[in-house]
Subunit: 354 residues, 5 copies
């Protein structure tokens, strides 16, 4: 399950713009992968340090520099200096608890978002902060861990499919956001299917773990919502921005992405309503079953307790109990008992309890 918060304790009270990594520290090295492309060129390499990166940037073309790992704050600072990135922005990149947003400081566009992916093996939703900086000829992406959902974009770049190579870093940023949104749909699909499974299980009365599955789903949805809801606002700001870094041809795509984000939020709302409805159903189901159990107990008790009492009467050892001596005593008592039982059963039948 995602965590709604991450400890920020150790960051307390540093001057603003101080770079302190906030998040789980992965065991991996930071990698700097550089993709240089233009309409007819594509070159994919890995830089070992920032000076080497600076040399690469001398070449013509558009650059996509993907930094996997933001826990090496020294490196992030060097990169920040190389691209003249505002310290406050750098701070946000290494503090991996940002809410999705878009900002524009004139020279760069800054986009923070969360990548969600469903780990089918462990049946958990993974999330990771992805920050993007759109410059004139360069797109920087910062991710927490190696491994991402962008391979599809890389292969589109490699194969030159679509318009991706002809366009600038703004379109590339859009393409990455679009893939992230597509994975939100995937996560929704998983949650939706689990909801459907749960609904079926509740109908067939076989769901012993229904409660815990419901609760898990509700909590997952709460946490996914935090990542997904602000994306509409973010894309709206992206679309509205009058930055010259956004080419007019990119805008229709942003509009389309915004529409997707709205669809995701709608689906999220419907899923939440469905889960609420399932929770209500589960609760009233519990009540209904309790009623049934108690009805059975009451029927059994109401019939047998008086009968046992009668048997108890004639089990008393009083010396003078005239009925005991009568040869008809026993059959009469049995008949009386039968009569009581039958009339009670009829009463229950009439009340609709049987």
């Amino acid at each position: 399950m995602l965590h709604p918060h991450r400890k920020r304790t150790h960051k307390l009270g540093l001057p603003p713009g101080s770079l302190v990594y906030v998040g789980e520290r992965p065991n991996t090295e930071v990698t700097l992968s550089v993709i240089r492309f233009s309409e007819d060129v594509l070159e994919s390499t890995t830089a070992t340090d920032v000076p080497e990166l600076a040399r690469r940037l001398q070449q013509p073309g558009t650059f996509w520099i993907d930094i996997d790992g933001v826990h090496d704050v020294g490196l992030i600072e060097q990169i920040g200096r190389l691209f003249h990135i505002d310290p406050l922005t750098l701070e946000d990149i290494v503090t991996t608890t940002q809410r999705p947003r878009f900002s524009d400081d004139g020279d760069h566009l800054f986009i923070v978002t969360r990548e969600l992916s469903f780990d089918a093996a462990k049946r958990v939703i993974r999330h990771e902060q992805v920050s993007m900086i759109v410059g004139k000829h360069v797109l920087l992406t910062f991710q927490e861990r190696p491994g991402d959902v962008f391979d599809i974009v890389r292969s589109r770049l490699r194969q030159g499919r679509g318009q991706i190579r002809q366009r600038g870093p703004d379109y590339l940023a859009y393409a990455l956001l679009d893939v992230i949104l597509d994975h939100y749909f995937l996560v929704m699909d998983e949650v939706g299917e689990e909801t459907a499974r749960l609904e079926e299980a509740l109908l067939s009365d076989t769901a012993d773990d229904a409660q815990s599955r419901l609760n898990r789903l509700r909590r997952e949805l709460i946490l996914v919502r935090r990542a997904v809801y602000p994306v509409r606002e973010q894309l709206h700001a992206f679309l509205r921005s009058e930055s010259p870094l956004i080419h007019p041809e990119t805008r229709p795509f942003l509009k389309d992405a915004l529409e997707h984000a709205r669809q995701i939020a709608d689906t999220m709302d419907a899923l939440r309503d469905l889960l609420t409805s399932l929770t209500d159903q589960y609760t009233s189901d519990l009540s209904r079953r309790l009623n049934e159990v108690m009805k059975l107990l009451t029927i059994i008790s109401t019939i047998f307790i008086p009968l046992t009492f009668i048997a108890g009467i004639y089990g008393m050892n009083f010396r003078y109990m005239p009925e005991l001596a009568s040869p008809y005593g026993y059959p009469i008592v049995l008949l009386v008992m039968l009569g009581i039982a039958v009339s009670l059963l009829m009463l229950f039948k009439r009340r609709g309890w049987l």
Copy 2:
């Protein structure tokens, strides 16, 4: 029941504008039906392919081209090229999970909406995505499956009733939207009647399946809401649009349709509130009945358990139990028991339990 989501998995990561059909794949062929009309002409044919369609369009008049089936993406692409439709729009047409919306790209108006209809035989609500493209002399409609709710409009066209033949594709689009809205009213009617039936059943204590019917209704309403709510926004955008494709005479009709959409949303809200109220009623009904059951059990137990205990006392086999030898022992014990029973009954009466 409608599904709040459809799998989009296989679409993942394609460049934007890629046409991949998302939805259930029907077994049917795609049909291209063409209706050409003007004030005094009406010609209704079926085109077999896009070139033939293109030839037909040479003729004068207004065209309504209805494409039944959007899973043949090759065909959709050809149509897109013929009418210069934006690839992103084409993508939305074949992705049958859109939320209702209106957009205007200058040359065309694009309207996505959901058609709801109540299948009385199976007692389910069917839904289908309907996309419309309004051009200068042509209205394109894209539907998922053959069979729709538009026959009434076709017959109005055929008979030349109303103003429908004198007007352009914008009015035709309105007329189709209006029929779709009318079917929303129908679906509301069905839900409303089921709600009323359920309410009556709850009052008469005979509703064993009340819970499942309630839950089914609530979930249906959640899913219908997703289709219906954004329609207000959509019609508002349609009405506000300053596109020259919308004739001034069409606007009052759009205003009227917007008013209908508002009415539907109001009805939806009232139905939701009614269902919430019914759910609360069902739950407190369960509690009330449990109380009654438990009261009976408690009355029976409270009366007979002490009596059985007394009988048990005199059923003990102690040699020295003076009461047993007394000739009045038995009647006295019976009287004591009667006394206890009567006083307990009076106590319950006073507490209002009987």
Copy 3:
């Protein structure tokens, strides 16, 4: 109880502006009552048909034409032609499921609203759609059934009280709306008093039908809300309208009516909150009572079940049970039983169950 929806089925798919009556068909004839008034004249007659109505309109003065019954669509169409009313507006008049609204088509103001009245005999809230068309010298009112709440206005007209005769149809429309609003207050009063009665009944534990009364109230409020809430919006539009048909002197009255509508909505909200609070109270009351019932059962069972067991022990017929032969066996067992009962009672006392 009001119905949240009325069947619109038979209207399906007609061209817009088609007049089909939607609503319950009353058995009564449509009546056309005409009141002609000016500062010193008042003439109240009944027209038998539309041509006669047209002749009457030749006379000077202001006209209030009240049409009681909208199911005779032919008549409505004739009236529409006489006053040049838009077919879409006529359609809304005969479709008695409109939500309250105000619209202005330049020549006329169109007001749809719902009249609520409390039928004290049957203890139900009646409702009726009232449409008004404000023209230059004429006010048309369309009602579903004969019998309305406007007699007070008629008598004010007759007696010339207030400013009503000096003013035009806009003021008359306001006066009618004001009376309708006053009846909303009356309906609120009734609901409020029933709420207060219910609250008292819940406090005194005597409310066996509390649940059904609560549910009836909640549902009534849901349906009343649909009629009442949009009135604020409607009056706001009326007030904001720059139509020359609204005289400046009428505006302060509209402002006042708007303030009343806000007050009604506030009262409605408070009533809804009160009902929610009563529902919660009823539910927790059920739980509290169940707890009491179960406590009694548990106390009785916990005390007597072990005692009965002890009696059962000494009721066994084993040949060798040394206690049975002892002369102190019986009193000792009785004392032990007493001891157990007393200590259990003390335990319950300490736990606060007694």
Copy 4:
């Protein structure tokens, strides 16, 4: 408790501006107290009728005319004529069911608000409608009953403390509103303390009347909210108004009062959330206790019912029951019973029920 509604029945259908008193009719006479003040003069008298009042107004200075009692509509009408007050405004003054609002008709400012005070003796919240009319040199206040919260302002006037004597009627109106707001804080304090007491009572399990106290509090808060919430809006309108009757120096004070109103609304929201949380706590507390009660019953029953059955077996009078003759029969059965009891206890212990 406050009433969410007051009967308006007897007002029905009068022409607008008709003065009919709506509210409880107090037994007291209406008093007209007049305070005339300027920086160095203060004269406090009581006028017996309106002509006398008119004479007094000839004198120089600022006037505060406080009318205690609005049920004498003849008097109110006279006052209205004297100060040229709009009949609709007069109607609102005598209809003591207004929601707080501010309006400006050019010559006067009209302020309606509700005065809340906590009657410590009867532990109820009292409320009263206070209307104010701000004129050029005069402030009129209309109250329902004698006795108010304004004595503090009167003594400030008398002692010339603060700036109150140097300023005009607008500042005086502010000062009165401020005192009313201060009493809202007092009422909040009372509700807050009762909430805290209730919370403690719930924690210590001693609250037998918790439910009724909770319900009383919730309903009081609903009714207080109706008085308090619109005050923000009202003060905002007051502050925004560009009337020359409001001196620039008064505006910072209005801003301050608005801030107080916001604080009160915030406190109200927090109190409501606290009460909701307490209600939930009470409900789940009931469930928790029921669970405990039922656990005890189940433990006792589960242990003793089987044992009693075994005792019953050996209490049967069959002639051939070999166990009965055995000298070890009795001790063995006792041991078996003990074994069953112990193993059941251990089972319950392991399940955490003991």
Copy 5:
């Protein structure tokens, strides 16, 4: 726990601008600590009275005057006169129940906020009102008690880290707000961790005090929310303000702080949703357990009550009971009992109760 309200009783009815301390009265003396700094100077002293403070202010540089304790209203008044602070503002400073806000009176910026800190020893959240007044060369901070969260800023000032010494009082105010926001994150962390612990405890069925912990958390969150939510609005006003007291270079920092405030509000919302979900879980958990308890009771009762009845039958002392004499009577009855028990067990098994 924080208190949602503090008594304001003793303030009632004083003229606006009257200084009366509202809050708990600490036992400490008020201290006036003065920090004078410029790019290369830092001087930290304590003033004993206001005249001494006035002398200090003659020196060049930027001043941070921190007043610890606002209960000495005389002193506050002197300070107010020294810095020409508006009496209404002074009143707000000593009334420690303000909601966070920003205001600008031209000469000063006035910021009220609440400092939250988690006292790990007592496991409570402490809160304190902090007011700031930003002047041209001076920042005044007013706190309720000695001891605060600002030591980190003091040490940054002392060490000259970051830009803090080069900038003016506006930046210093931002730096203090930023530290306060950082402590909100800390408090969120604590609440979040307690939530996670609670969630785990609920899953492992070991949480006997779950209910009280849940309720404590919910109430704490309600009270924290009151402090935290208005901060977004406050920082928005700060950022939007066009006061020349705010240097352009400070604005990006304010933007960043606003982003943090939004993040905090988001986290708060997610925490609240999580707590609601946990509460629902706890409630349905109680129901589920009750069901289990009742099932056990019902199974035991349903099996043994009929068997005990049979044993009771043959425990009766009728002289003529043929079965008793039969040598097979006893074993047959035992077999019948076994048969009943087994068939009931199988029935329960089939119903899924076992």
